[in-house]
């Protein structure tokens, strides 16, 4: 087997630009009070490494930032219970990881920003807010330091951004995709919590908990994803993230 050494320049310009933009976004979220939640179902220690990197920096004098690894048998349930609107979820996984796909699909309903580090075939466009991807499908990629390099750099660049307080205010949210509040074209993503006594359904959205009418999409069960428009669930989102 040949040595899986990194190419001479492991970061092409596009990935370096993605990393820079992700770092600024993460720094802005931290400045606004976010906690970073890391998960890596197939390689859990990567999630732990990310958490310790932010909580206990190797460079003396860098501030401790709140980061927690989501590990154990049910990272989706743990994330659902733990994350707060404005937080950031960072996954290290291939595009096919079912747990991470589930978390990424739900994240807009939880009001969280998402970052996805991985390798091989890419996740579909829009699967996460920030995708930091190594196209190399070599199964040795996760164990030869290349992911470690990516999150080390993410940590470092995030701290550089935090030294620029003037740039840490987030720009106004634009009009993009199905969560556009201004046009309300498609609706906002909601995750079903429970049936409410009045026959409506309690749903979690980025704005908080809302009572919505689910007659159009009934029956619904806790954990189902729906699109909410004007107090009504107008469609369901299936496992692949498609409205139906």
């Amino acid at each position: 087997m040949t040595a899986p050494v990194m190419p001479e320049q492991p970061l092409d310009e596009a990935l370096a630009a993605d990393l820079a933009a992700t770092s600024l976004s993460l720094a802005r979220r931290f400045a606004a009070g976010a906690t970073l939640w890391s998960l890596s179902p197939a390689w859990e220690p990567h999630a732990n490494h990310i958490a310790v990197e932010f909580v206990h920096p190797v460079i003396v004098g860098k501030r401790a930032l709140p980061a927690v690894a989501l590990t154990g048998p049910d990272p989706v349930g743990l994330a659902r219970a733990s994350v707060r609107p404005g937080d950031v979820i960072l996954a290290v996984a291939t595009a096919g990881d079912p747990v991470v796909r589930s978390v990424m699909r739900r994240a807009p309903a939880w009001g969280t920003t998402t970052i996805w580090i991985g390798h091989g075939p890419r996740p579909p466009a829009g699967a996460a807010d920030h995708v930091l991807w190594l196209d190399d499908p070599d199964p040795r990629t996760p164990v030869t330091g290349r992911f470690v390099l990516l999150y080390h750099l993410l940590w470092e660049l995030t701290h550089v951004c935090l030294e620029h307080p003037g740039l840490l205010t987030e720009p106004e949210a634009g009009c993009d995709g199905e969560v556009c509040v201004t046009c309300s074209d498609e609706g906002r993503l909601g995750e079903v919590i429970s049936e409410a006594p009045d026959g409506r359904t309690l749903v979690r959205t980025a704005a908080g908990q809302e009572l919505v009418d689910t007659m159009l999409v009934a029956p619904v069960a806790p954990g189902d994803l729906v699109l909410v428009h004007a107090g009504t669930a107008i469609s369901r989102i299936d496992e692949e993230g498609e409205a139906r």
Binding site: P4, V143, L153
Partner: protein, 223 residues
């Protein structure tokens, strides 16, 4: 910046935008420099230690063939790198799964020992409980000076285990104490770059052990 020539109407916004752009350009440039540094250090590390990896693997393979286990341990980020390496041995993407685990994995054991006997003994006490002379102890550190790792390596050596140390900087006490059989020192002053090179060293060690086991090496010692 607006492309339609109205940027002059919002000079403040334009200036703020330019600042973010210039920061982002700096960040991307810096990231590429560090990534190139990381790759160069990996190459230099492989060039320096490729032969030692083979020698260490030649000692490890017969131990695994004889039923031995690999214990990995480290502190902080290095403990997670040690856990990734243990996972590679135990649940490899290909080849033969081998008994290996990280001594930092069990929070009950770690906190019980840390609280009751002191943190310096959290790994050595586990080796006393678990290990036999066909086993292997692998410590991952950047400084090569952590007391808990040194105590564990010393205990491992006393009990006849094969001892392997990953360090950085000048190797610290991993390089000077007599109880590290194979010491791999990544020549860098950066904790991050050291860890990135240690990952590839660990991988190479695993690959060399797998190759030797596949070739039947040490199999006559199995029974």
């Amino acid at each position: 910046m607006s492309a339609d020539g109205t940027g002059f109407l919002y000079p403040f916004l334009g200036a703020a935008e330019r600042d973010a752009d210039s920061l982002l350009a700096d960040l991307a440039r810096s990231a590429r420099e560090k990534a190139a540094e990381s790759a160069a250090l990996q190459r230099a590390t492989i060039a320096e230690f490729g032969e030692l990896v083979e020698k260490a693997a030649a000692e490890m393979a017969p131990r695994f063939a004889a039923g031995g286990r690999l214990y990995t341990f480290g502190n902080g980020g290095s403990s997670t790198d040690a856990a990734i390496l243990a996972g590679l041995f135990a649940r490899p993407p290909e080849g033969r799964p081998l008994p290996s685990w990280s001594l930092a994995a069990d929070q009950a054991v770690l906190t019980a020992l840390g609280n009751d006997v002191g943190f310096d003994l959290v790994f050595s006490r586990q080796l006393i409980a678990h290990s036999g002379e066909s086993d292997i102890a692998l410590a991952m550190s950047t400084s090569g000076g952590s007391a808990d790792l040194l105590r564990a390596l010393e205990e491992a050596k006393r009990r006849g285990l094969l001892t392997i140390g990953f360090a950085g900087y000048d190797g610290g006490r991993f390089a000077t104490e007599g109880y590290v059989d194979f010491c791999f020192v990544v020549r860098s002053q950066s904790v991050h770059r050291i860890q990135e090179s240690q990952a590839v060293l660990g991988y190479l060690l695993w690959a060399a052990v797998q190759r030797r086991l596949a070739e039947g090496e040490g199999s006559d010692e199995r029974r």
